[in-house]
Symmetry: C2
Subunit: 234 residues, 2 copies
């Protein structure tokens, strides 16, 4: 079953260095906001060339563990932001040819839950975010592109209002996948706009009134409706 010998994989220096730095960050020896030593200094500490350090740093930068403020030169330890991380997941899914069905099932699992918790915990600011997205959809839905963007914004706002980072981070990758399907529905189904608008209104109302069960149910219906619109291809 399992091999007797494990293949020995040599880790190049830049990978080992990346791992070491990452470990310091995860174990919080390097804490969020701390500035990293300069590349020259790191090169000295690790006893390698600066080029090698730079390659290691690139990895951590991509992971979102290191970053710099706008216009700043020095790198500092940062918390990986959901958006940054989720974009990687999105790309992975897009490249793996996700079907509409897969996307829809995941939405059915995540979005209603997000709506439910949003109704329980939304802050005033988050409520405003929701309202904004909805207003934008109402006002700018003539162009398909902006309409789709507004819908995505709505879902994101719901996830944010749920006050649950895990749900929010699970929801985020769905957005990118959603775009093509949603574009198609809005383009082809005449009544799509009004139905989406009505659904958003109901969901927002339920979240505003903190009626979590209703919020969940309306969101479920909204997403079922989305599938109906998608399946309706003439």
């Amino acid at each position: 079953m399992s091999d007797l010998f494990a293949p020995l994989d040599d880790h190049p220096a830049y990978r080992q260095i990346a791992n070491q730095i990452e470990q310091r960050i995860v174990e919080r020896t390097l804490r969020t906001g701390d500035a990293l030593p300069s590349e020259t200094d790191l090169a000295r500490q690790f006893g390698v060339n600066r080029s090698t350090i730079r390659e290691a740093i690139r990895e951590l930068e991509v992971h979102g563990l290191l970053g710099r403020e706008r216009g700043e030169k020095r790198l500092r330890v940062t918390r990986p932001e959901p958006r940054r991380v989720s974009s990687g997941v999105s790309r992975a899914l897009a490249l793996n040819d996700v079907t509409f069905m897969e996307l829809w099932e995941a939405m059915m699992a995540i979005e209603p839950a997000a709506a439910q918790y949003a109704a329980l915990r939304r802050s005033a600011g988050q409520m405003r975010g929701l309202a904004n997205a909805s207003v934008r959809f109402k006002r700018e839905s003539t162009d398909t592109g902006t309409a789709v963007a507004a819908v995505v914004e709505f879902f994101t706002a719901v996830a944010a209002a749920s006050g649950n980072q895990v749900l929010a981070l699970s929801q985020a990758p769905l957005n990118l996948l959603l775009v093509p399907a949603l574009t198609q529905v809005i383009d082809r189904v005449p009544q799509a706009r009004s139905r989406i608008q009505a659904a958003q209104d109901r969901i927002i109302e339920a979240i505003k009134l903190k009626k979590s069960d209703q919020a969940r149910v309306w969101m479920e219906k909204h997403i079922r409706d989305f599938k109906r619109g998608y399946d309706l291809k003439p």
Copy 2:
């Protein structure tokens, strides 16, 4: 409200190059399995130094868009694997101090759905994967570490059996977060092992018989039970 001028952000060369290569991959000009030109060649094509190319390549490698077969020298275009991508999400969440409640809510959203679809679509091989995980838990649950690992394997197997990549990729990051909480429960609650075992048996049975509603319900109960065990801290 909004500024007159947007801040100009200069993208360093290595980032631009990474983006260009990424675009070729996403638009499938470079297809999965294709070998990338050598670093020297890329440097010539982009008109930059090889060091710059290397930094760009590191980014794409981290994203999982480039990789190499074991012992191979040349890089080739690869599909980002769920595991690789999800580990980044896990780390992001861990660094953001996710609470047990957040994790639990997300599990309640995703795992029952995964179980439900698994019951509808599981293949024979996936069924075996489930059984294996369950057997391993039964047999090796004396040590807390291996017991936890077996539980994680079970959840992963369910997600895989769901035949839904999006759900699977949403579920994967939960595993790492699950470990500390689960360890605590198994360590402190004497009857945890037997309850988990019973729950797994019921879920597997439902999936085997393709009873999707039951699979979902049992999984819900399983996860509710997990929370009960966690809240029970003496």
